[in-house]
Symmetry: C2
Subunit: 135 residues, 2 copies
């Protein structure tokens, strides 16, 4: 099981504050060759729909373009895993406001998000609040 | 300009051996915020069509799933750059036979390649030959 993102607990608190239930953590999936663990499965009370959340803090010391490519690569491969397993749950990439307002606003990032249909949920690490859903 | 992949010169020789002309190297593109350099632009004699090639050696010491996600992330973001710039040239990911026969054959990889429409060209580093085009 991989290390949790440094925002893991904070993002959980933000979802709970927004009325979500943390139904699952480190959601395990496998194609019988490789294993992945998606950070969270959340749902609304009285609603069975599970929404999957992969949390991605961006290290400001790394190349932002490399971090973007790596996050997008992880997202699309995780989504391919869901597709292979014929699971219908939507997958969201959870990113901090600074990342959303930064690298995710450059033209190539916006183009990739549209082309690939990437779903985003944006959290504010300072206020511990979910501020935006996209997709 | 990023460091060339360790297979760069070998792959150039393989394309030339297969009758291609190396028309460009380190093909520069930008969305005015970030810059990318695609390894090669190749074409056939008497054919203007430029085919773009990004070469990806997979380090056997790294996690193969991480390497796969990273390569796919780079490919789809580079393709988004082409899309943003309204360039029609096809982009291929050039990978060695061992990588193609290995991590690219696991179910989640095959699913991602189909879902994302990733184009591959496979080279044999030992014989320095292009052995397969996919997509």
């Amino acid at each position: 099981m991989p290390a949790k993102d440094r925002y893991h607990e904070l993002v959980k608190r933000a979802f709970v504050k927004a009325g979500w239930t943390i139904a699952r953590e480190q959601v395990y999936m496998s194609d019988n060759h490789r294993h992945i663990w998606i950070d969270l499965g959340i749902r609304r009370e009285n609603d069975e729909t599970l929404i999957l959340i992969e949390i991605k803090g961006f290290d400001p010391s790394a190349s932002m373009l490399d971090a973007l490519m790596s996050a997008i690569g992880q997202y699309v491969v995780y989504r391919a895993m869901l597709d292979f397993l014929e699971l219908q749950q939507p997958l969201y990439l959870a990113i901090p406001t600074t990342t959303y307002d930064g690298i995710f606003q450059i033209p190539v990032a916006k183009q990739a998000i549209v082309d690939l249909g990437i779903r985003l949920v944006v959290f504010n690490p300072l206020t511990e609040e979910i501020v935006q859903w996209k997709g």
